[in-house]
C-alpha cells in the first residue's frame, strides 16, 4: 500500500498553480480521497499540486445573498459552523456524517466535489442548491451551475486547465425546509443511496438522488414529491430502471424518507 513515485509541487499563488496544471499535474486538496487512491495505485500522477497553502483556498464569505465557500474549506470547519444561518445549519448536518472526524479535519468540500465520486456526500447534496461551482482558469473565474457540474463517475465539467476555486450557494431563509437521507451500513462508509430535498418558500422545491451509478439526478421541481412522497418516489425511481431490486428499494426509500424529513422540518 505504498504509492507509485510522484513529484510534489506546492505553488505559492494561483497563477503558478494553473501553470502547473497545464503541465498535467494532479491537484490535491485535503487528500482524503486522492490519498487512498495513491496508496492503492488507482491514481499514479507524475506530480501532485498541493493547493492547501494557496491564498484564500479555505474560508467562507457572505455577500449579496450568496455564500462563497472556498474549495479548501474542510468538512470539519463546516460541521463546526463556519457557514452562517440556515444554510450553514443544513450543511453542518451533512458534514457531520461524512466519513470520520480525522478525515473531515483534512478533507475539503471542493476536493470532494471535484473528485466526483458518485457516492460522496457533497456530490449528492450540493446540486440541491441553486448555486454554482466557481472554476478558475487562465482567463479568470467561470460559473458552472451545480446541477451541471458532475458529469459522470469521477468526471466533472472542469476543463483540464481549470481548478475548482469555490462553491457559491444562495443564503437561505430560516423557513427553508430540508430533508436528507443516506443509507450506510456503518457510520462513515460510502453511501449506498442518498437523497435530499430542499423547499424554500416561494420557489419550487428541489430534490437530488445520488450514489447511483450515474451523475446525481436533480429534480428541479419536486412539488409532486412533497405532495405524495411515497408514490412519487416510487414513480421517479421506477423511471431509473435500476438493475438490482434491492438497490431500487434503497433509492426509493431514501427519497421517500428525505421528502418526509423535509415536510416535518427534521434534519
Amino acid at each position: 500500500m505504498k504509492p507509485a513515485p510522484f513529484g510534489y509541487a506546492r505553488p505559492g499563488d494561483w497563477p503558478e498553480a494553473l501553470s502547473l496544471l497545464r503541465d498535467g499535474a494532479r491537484p490535491l486538496a485535503g487528500g482524503q480521497s486522492l490519498g487512498p487512491m495513491l496508496n492503492l495505485r488507482l491514481a499514479q500522477p507524475a506530480t501532485v499540486i498541493d493547493l492547501r497553502h494557496l491564498p484564500g483556498f479555505a474560508g467562507v464569505a457572505v455577500q449579496d445573498g450568496y455564500c462563497r465557500i472556498g474549495a479548501g474549506t474542510s468538512h470539519a470547519e463546516i460541521e463546526d459552523g463556519a457557514i452562517p444561518g440556515r444554510l450553514g445549519a443544513i450543511l453542518a448536518g451533512v458534514a457531520r456524517r461524512i466519513a470520520y472526524r480525522a478525515v473531515r479535519n483534512r478533507g475539503t468540500i471542493g476536493g470532494s466535489l471535484a473528485h466526483a465520486d458518485p457516492a460522496a456526500d457533497w456530490v449528492a447534496v450540493l446540486p440541491c442548491f441553486d448555486g454554482a461551482a466557481i472554476a478558475l482558469g487562465a482567463s479568470g473565474e467561470r460559473r458552472i451551475p451545480l446541477a451541471d457540474f458532475v458529469l459522470g463517475l469521477m468526471e466533472t465539467a472542469l476543463r483540464p486547465d481549470e481548478v475548482l476555486r469555490a462553491i457559491e450557494l444562495p443564503v437561505l431563509p430560516p423557513e427553508a425546509r430540508w430533508g436528507h437521507w443516506k443509507f450506510c451500513r456503518k457510520p462513515g462508509e460510502f453511501s449506498k443511496a442518498t437523497a435530499c430535498v430542499l423547499a424554500v418558500p416561494g420557489e419550487p422545491p428541489r430534490a437530488v438522488l445520488a450514489a447511483l451509478d450515474m451523475p446525481p439526478l436533480v429534480i428541479a421541481d419536486a412539488g409532486a414529491l412533497l405532495a405524495a412522497p411515497e408514490a412519487e418516489a416510487a414513480r421517479i425511481v421506477a423511471g431509473l430502471a435500476l438493475r438490482d431490486p434491492w438497490r431500487a428499494a434503497l433509492v426509493r426509500t431514501a427519497l421517500h424518507r428525505a421528502a418526509l424529513a423535509a415536510w416535518e422540518m427534521e434534519e
Binding site: P5, P36, V48, D50, A99, Y100, P187
Partner: protein, 160 residues
Amino acid sequence: MSRMPIRMTVNGKAAELVAEPRTHLADLLRGALLLTGTHLGCEHGVCGACTVELDGIPARSCITHAGACDGAAVRSIEGFDADPVMAALREAFSAEHALQCGYCTPGMLITARDIILRLPDADEARVREELSGNLCRCTGYRGIVHAVLRVLAERRGTAP
C-alpha cells in the same frame, strides 16, 4: 524519483528529513524517526490505527504524504506522555479493559482525546458514532466506549 527536504515539528522537537514525496507520514514517523507507536493497519484511511495529531487536530498519517507534511506540526502517541487528558484515558483504558492486543490503541487514544475535548457532553451513542472511524478487532468496543464515557464523566464531575 527525487527526494525532497521535509521540515516538521514532531512532538515539540524540530525534525529535518529527506524523503520521497510519496512516503506517507506514518512511515516517516516509524522509519525515519523510529517513533513506532503509530501503527499501520489498512494504509488507505479506513481503520484509524495510524491516527496522529497534525497541526493540532487528528488526521490519518497513512494518507498524508511527505510533501504535504513539510512545515507541519505532528504529535504522535509518544508526544502525549505529559498530557493530563491522555493520562486519564490511559487509566480508564486499563480499568475498563479497553484494549487487548493494543494494535488500535494509539489511534484509539488520539481519537478518544479529541472526543473528550471537543464533545464534553457526548452520550454513549455519540461516543460510538465518533469512534466509528477506528477499528478494533479484539474488544467489541464496549470497553473502549466505557473508558471514554468514564473520562467524560470524571471531567463533568458526575459518576460514570
